[in-house]
Symmetry: C2
Subunit: 111 residues, 2 copies
């Protein structure tokens, strides 16, 4: 889990917004999540991610990529695809993915 | 707070991803948040939103709009701008906003 925000990126860049409904602590989830983070961090063009989850509510993860090619490498990564198959079979009741091109962004930080 | 996912939208559409770090239950936040939801729901072109927040961690809200015009109406709404000013002064340590155009999305729902 990351606690810091992704900020200061120079547009254009791409976001993959992953929203999901699942049980609170499904078996094997934490290990797979940690492994996915290891993989994605090594990918060229990966710019960072954020994740939040309301207990008993929904989860949202946003991953940032420099371009669609780097995002595609992540989406087609074999371990990632296997994790998604497992997630559909065992963890997730529902999820959605929205792939967006960011042309504008801004940040605030308290002085 | 919404518990259901925004799904089944037909691209293209726009996302405003708002990520933030703030105290857990700041004074006046819940009331302002409820009022902002009232306003945005009435706006033409508003397609829905999702929000998640890890206790002690970060919050992520994703709002969906049909086009940049409707998103701009929301961003320039006077009550919304006043709420943002108040938020910068009193609630948020940091936040970022990423405005993206979604060209591709997909959803899963367990049978």
């Amino acid at each position: 889990m990351t606690q810091s925000l992704v900020a200061g990126l120079e547009p254009p860049y791409y976001t993959a917004v992953f929203t999901s409904v699942r049980a609170d602590d499904p078996e094997g989830y934490a290990e797979t999540s940690a492994r996915m983070q290891e993989i994605v961090r090594e990918l060229p063009g990966f710019l960072g991610y954020e994740t939040a989850r309301t207990p008993g509510g929904i989860g949202i993860t946003v991953a940032y990529f420099r371009d669609l090619d780097s995002l595609g490498v992540w989406q087609h990564n074999a371990e990632h695809q296997a994790a998604k198959r497992h997630g559909r079979a065992h963890w997730y009741d529902r999820y959605s993915v929205h792939i967006g091109k960011v042309e504008r962004s801004y940040s605030f930080e308290r002085a």
